[in-house]
Point group: C2
Chain length 123, copies 2
């Protein structure tokens, strides 16, 4: 029961969604879609200490939502659109699947009762 825990989080979607669950991290992502930024620039608008921002950044990098490279003493961060795209794709699939089923159901009901009556057993 602890082995399973340690070997967990193999699925990239776990990491991506987990990373995006935090508003500070989403703010960082939103900032980076406007273009690259240093860690200091990312930290400035966030009401927390510098190390805290670094840790958020580590989470985002671990989820492959952000890449970064250090030149001189400044680390420049940019978004990595691939992980963003995979999360988006999963949601897209789920909604598409739901709508497909919904449409099938609607078609079935229309066929069953072809005149305009959308009422079901009320209360």
């Amino acid at each position: 029961m602890l082995l399973k825990h340690m070997l967990n989080q193999l699925d990239p979607l776990d990491l991506a969604f987990q990373a995006l669950a935090d508003p500070s991290r989403r703010a960082i992502v939103e900032r980076l879609t406007q273009g690259p930024a240093s860690v200091s620039e990312l930290a400035r608008p966030l009401a927390m200490t510098f190390p805290a921002v670094m840790q958020h950044l580590a989470v985002l990098e671990g989820a492959h939502l952000v890449r970064s490279q250090k030149v001189g003493r400044v680390r420049t961060c940019r978004i990595d659109a691939s992980a963003l795209g995979r999360a988006e794709a999963w949601l897209n699939t789920q909604r598409a699947e739901w709508e497909r089923r919904f449409d099938r159901l609607e078609a079935y009901l229309t066929e069953l009762k072809p005149h305009g009556d959308d009422d079901d057993s009320r209360k």
Copy 2:
């Protein structure tokens, strides 16, 4: 510092992404896009106790990703597409924004150096 913690998670996106960060909960969502199901049906394929599944369901309902109603002794769950859509929309916006900026940059580079040379400082 603990008040802020308690009043946290006001943003629906926090709840949605947090809920989707767990593979069991995503499995539940995937199952429900195929159509409604009882708690027992949802629990069957998941290698965990019944109460654990109920707790996952509570998280999903809290995030408005799932709705449910009890009739007799069985609770029937269905997905709530609206929260799914809002998460999808956020990701969509971010990718769109990123692509917009990317295209602007590309156009700038093409204008700057109009002949077919896509090389940058290598190594």
